[in-house]
């Protein structure tokens, strides 16, 4: 605890120093300036925080309830699991540039889109651990139920529900900052007030102290929510927090392909029927057939494909290095802290802060600092991927079997040796789980940065298409981005299965 305080103080000092050094560049406002601005504008910030916070809270509630409902459905009808997780992934991958305006048209003025986007931002990261948690009970616990002649309901009541709680807590903890981000992005669809509205305003006005204050306050709130949920979980639960190692869904078997096909058909049907039922105008709500036409046989189809390919290639140049750097940084930092535990005083609060600051407030700042070139975007993607990887890998390292470590200790092996032979293999499953869950996060990050700050790549193309009403292009881009996230997820899952089959066979269950 004292270490964390000292670490935070060191960080604040570094921040203030940097602000002094770059005083004349209109880039950085230091902690003193931020504090001054926040006090002077306490009323404004307070009201915005209440609006965004309550939308985020409602979205958090709705999204997590939806996740719990879907998990319950999966539990009752296990055959639906591939369909539920497949659809959930697709919906989670949908870019907010496309969903925002549609939600606004469907829900009208008010808080609807903010709440829905907050809910969409959280439900997946709760659903996946929950699905894992509900299946995570050891067979011997279930035997106990069966010995007394009790069935699935007793299993659920006495074992599964309770055993899933730590997983739920882990999901909720990740969900808290995500809900705040979702609510802020929702405000971009024309909300009257809130932190997101202020962010746009002050970014436009180049009000550096205000931008930094918003980022700092949003980060504080997100960190507080993260810590609060963690604290409540620790008080209520008595077992150590789990590593979320949901076994990857079906491999490239024939059944896997059939399931993918079923999900695809369901997506197309829901897309088409949803737009029909909501009575959305085909001017901006394009149907699957419109997208197919735009890409395949419209007179300008070749041009559309070319534009998309160029944009996608540009995005790939940002997202791939950022993704890999984020994984490497996350795993690297976890390993480093394993070797030099004292560093965690400074690095852990920094890691939590970096991940908790909503990307919409960091995007303009990082681009301001690192430039509009590749560096800024790559950095932001890396930040988004880094934190879940870091947390998972730290858990993974702690999973190193104690008795094996004792054997190494008995040979007086160095920390480095133990790490290489015991820690890192134990960390692999966690690294893969993080890599898999980070795919949609990386795509979200890169599209948001391109959309809000750099204007390049597929995110920039989507926002440009919306502004010139080229909704065929926008929806084609949406399909492409979703497909890419989904494919990335599938590729990592396949690699994960192969690696875990040798390094952690107990994780790959039939």
């Amino acid at each position: 605890m004292a270490d964390a305080v000292i670490g935070t103080l060191i960080l604040l000092a570094l921040w203030q120093g940097l602000a002094f050094a770059l005083q004349d560049r209109f880039l950085i406002a230091g902690p003193a300036q931020v504090l001054g601005w926040s006090i002077a504008n306490a009323g404004l910030i307070g009201r915005a925080l209440v609006v965004t916070g309550s939308n985020a809270a409602l979205g958090f509630l709705a999204g997590n309830l939806a996740a719990i409902g879907l998990a319950a459905l999966a539990l009752v009808v296990p055959r639906l699991i591939p369909m539920i997780s497949g659809l959930a992934l697709v919906v989670f991958c949908l870019p907010m540039v496309a969903t925002g305006p549609i939600l606004r048209v469907m829900m009208g003025p008010g808080n609807g889109p903010q709440i829905v986007l907050a809910a969409l931002a959280v439900y997946y990261t709760t659903l996946i651990p929950l699905l894992a948690g509900l299946r995570a009970a050891p067979a011997s616990w279930l035997d106990l139920i069966h010995v007394y002649g009790r069935g699935r309901w007793a299993e659920l009541r006495h074992i599964r529900l309770r055993a899933a709680l730590p997983y739920l807590a882990a999901g909720l903890q990740i969900a808290a900052p995500a809900a705040f981000l979702g609510a802020m992005v929702g405000e971009f669809t024309g909300a009257e007030r809130g932190m997101g509205v202020l962010t746009i305003r002050f970014t436009r006005a180049l009000d550096i102290p205000a931008i930094w204050s918003l980022a700092a306050i949003a980060a504080l709130v997100a960190i507080a929510a993260y810590a609060l949920i963690g604290g409540i979980a620790r008080r209520i639960l008595h077992e150590p927090p789990p590593v979320i190692l949901a076994p990857p869904p079906g491999g490239p078997t024939q059944r896997g392909w059939m399931q993918a096909l079923a999900v695809l058909i369901a997506v197309l049907a829901l897309w088409w029927a949803g737009m029909r039922l909501a009575g959305l105008s085909p001017f901006f709500a394009k149907r699957p057939s419109d997208v197919l036409a735009a890409l395949a046989w419209a007179p300008d189809a070749a041009q559309t494909r070319g534009t998309l390919a160029t944009a996608l290639a540009q995005t790939a140049r940002h997202v791939l290095p950022g993704y890999c750097a984020g994984l490497a940084l996350g795993a690297g930092l976890a390993v480093l802290l394993g070797l030099v535990p004292r560093l965690s005083a400074v690095l852990t609060p920094l890691a939590v802060a970096l991940r908790s600051i909503p990307i919409v407030t960091t995007a303009p700042l990082i681009v301001l600092l690192a430039g509009r070139g590749a560096a800024g975007t790559v950095l932001l993607v890396a930040v988004m991927v880094f934190f879940p990887t870091f947390v998972a890998c730290q858990h993974g390292l702690r999973q190193a079997p104690g008795r094996i470590l004792d054997v190494f200790d008995s040979y007086a092996a160095s920390r480095l040796r133990k790490l290489i032979h015991v820690g890192i293999p134990a960390m692999l499953p966690a690294l893969f789980a993080a890599a898999r869950i980070s795919v949609p996060a990386a795509v979200l990050a890169v599209t948001v940065v391109e959309w809000l700050a750099t204007g390049g790549g597929i995110g920039g193309l989507m926002s440009l298409s919306a502004s010139v009403s080229d909704y065929d292009m926008l929806w084609s881009a949406v399909v492409l981005v979703t497909l890419m996230s989904w494919l990335g997820h599938a590729v990592i899952s396949a690699a994960e299965r192969r690696v875990l089959a040798t390094h952690a066979p107990e994780q790959v269950r039939p």
Partner: protein
């Protein structure tokens, strides 16, 4: 029913894929008697216990307890198992873990019985502790208390003292059997420890390496309750020697 009292196994056969765990196992375990199943590690003893508890279905053969299939008795909460892995639920205290068994068996809560059993297995002071704070041996003893709390007609113990030290084991061997005798439980005890088998049971079945088959059926005509000094008596040593001989014969034959 009197004719069929106890546990009757007839022609039990169980394979997991290519691996045969149990082959043509037939035996009768008399009501209210304690029988130890002794055999080398991995011989299929635990599988046999799971078949009798009805947790796994045999490929061939039948199990009848007092003339009925195990499922019937399970529904009445008349079977208890203490697994090799104590499998206590980590979020419940020792006392609540024990009490859970009564709830699962649809029996009324009985805090006094729970407390008495925990006292008896030496966990009186740890009733409110969670499993994570207990040692391996303490967890196993809690699991035994849990198995006993329903007053089962059939008690199946799978290596229940694996993690218990020698001294405590002798103490438990003195305290526990009277308890299950008092309940009239038909007890099956799986172990690879010959002395434990003799100390606790009325009869020892020596099993061959996998697939499990009976190679010797040895009576233990020692009076109950058994004193902690019993393992140092010649009668005890004689029976032990008899079992060891049967075991090594079985191993040689394999």
């Amino acid at each position: 029913m009197a004719a069929e009292a106890g546990i009757a196994c007839a022609g039990l056969h169980k394979a997991f894929g290519e691996v045969e765990a149990v082959r043509d196992f037939s035996a009768h375990f008399a009501s209210a008697q304690t029988t130890a199943l002794v055999g080398p590690s991995g011989c299929g003893k635990s599988t046999l216990l799971r078949l009798i508890a009805g947790l796994d279905m045999p490929d061939r053969g039948t199990v009848a307890i007092d003339g009925q299939p195990p499922e019937r008795l399970r529904e009445r909460g008349a079977i208890s198992v203490a697994f090799q892995d104590p499998s206590l639920l980590p979020w419940l205290t020792a006392a609540r873990n024990v009490a859970l068994a009564r709830k699962l068996a649809r029996q009324p809560a009985d805090p006094a019985l729970v407390a008495r059993l925990l006292q008896m297995v030496g966990l009186g002071q740890f009733a409110q502790s969670r499993p994570a704070t207990l040692s391996g041996g303490m967890r196993q003893r809690a699991a035994i208390a849990r198995a006993l709390v329903t007053g089962p007609g059939v008690l199946l113990l799978d290596e229940p003292f694996g993690a218990v030290d020698e001294l405590t084991r002798r103490q438990l061997a003195q305290d526990l059997p009277p308890l299950w005798h008092e309940m009239g439980a038909t007890t099956l005890l799986v172990t690879h420890s010959v002395s434990e088998a003799v100390l606790l049971s009325d009869r020892v079945l020596v099993l061959s390496p996998r697939p499990a088959q009976i190679v010797a059926d040895i009576d233990v005509p020692l009076p109950h309750p058994r004193s902690p000094a019993l393992p140092d008596t010649p009668a005890f040593h004689r029976i032990e020697a008899q079992i060891r001989a049967a075991l090594s014969h079985a191993l040689d034959a394999a």
